[in-house]
Symmetry: C2
Subunit: 110 residues, 2 copies
């Protein structure tokens, strides 16, 4: 298969998983970190900073855009990427709430 059965899970769980999946690769974390540090980034700058092929970086950017975490603006021949604050806030809230759950399992086990 290789296909996730999204239909059997809640919308919230699917949302959380989609954001987490987008963050689930070190290259994408590194890209987002660059965008945060420099406030915005020309695609070529990212290619220079991360030792992966240009086509590979472009693919990761595409996934981050599909997840809504970034947006790109065409500036002539170049493309300027930056964090999409709206979706970023949604992701922060969703993951934050989830990770803030009470994990204490009492004295009954473990």
């Amino acid at each position: 298969m290789g296909v996730t059965k999204t239909d059997i899970f809640s919308r919230e769980d699917n949302l959380l998983a989609r954001f987490a999946k987008a963050l689930g690769h070190p290259a994408r974390i590194a890209i987002l970190r660059l965008l945060v540090q420099r406030q915005a980034c020309i695609c070529g700058d990212i290619v220079d900073e991360i030792p992966l092929a240009q086509s590979t970086i472009s693919q990761h950017l595409k996934e981050l855009k599909a997840a809504g975490l970034i947006k790109g603006e065409i500036e002539g021949a170049k493309v300027c990427y930056c964090i999409d604050e709206t979706a970023w806030e949604v992701a922060k809230a969703a993951l934050g709430t989830f990770l803030d759950s009470n994990t204490d399992c009492g004295a009954n086990c473990c």
Copy 2:
């Protein structure tokens, strides 16, 4: 390929990506939510609650354990799973700090 080049990224970025990847499937989110709600869970209870095959659930549990997010205690023929608070706190701190980054890209773009 299909193989991630972990060696070219920082330890922190790989750590973040590993946690996020573990959270990057709705079944694993659902499992963690069950463990949080019930404080602990017998494996069979999870299989009853989530409409996936027992072997599939077992595999997701294995991945969550590999990521350190849960731990299992053998109780006779059954196995009791619960959140591993130590790693959970690490994940919460790492993801929390990352997502709390200032995402304002000023007026220069986008």
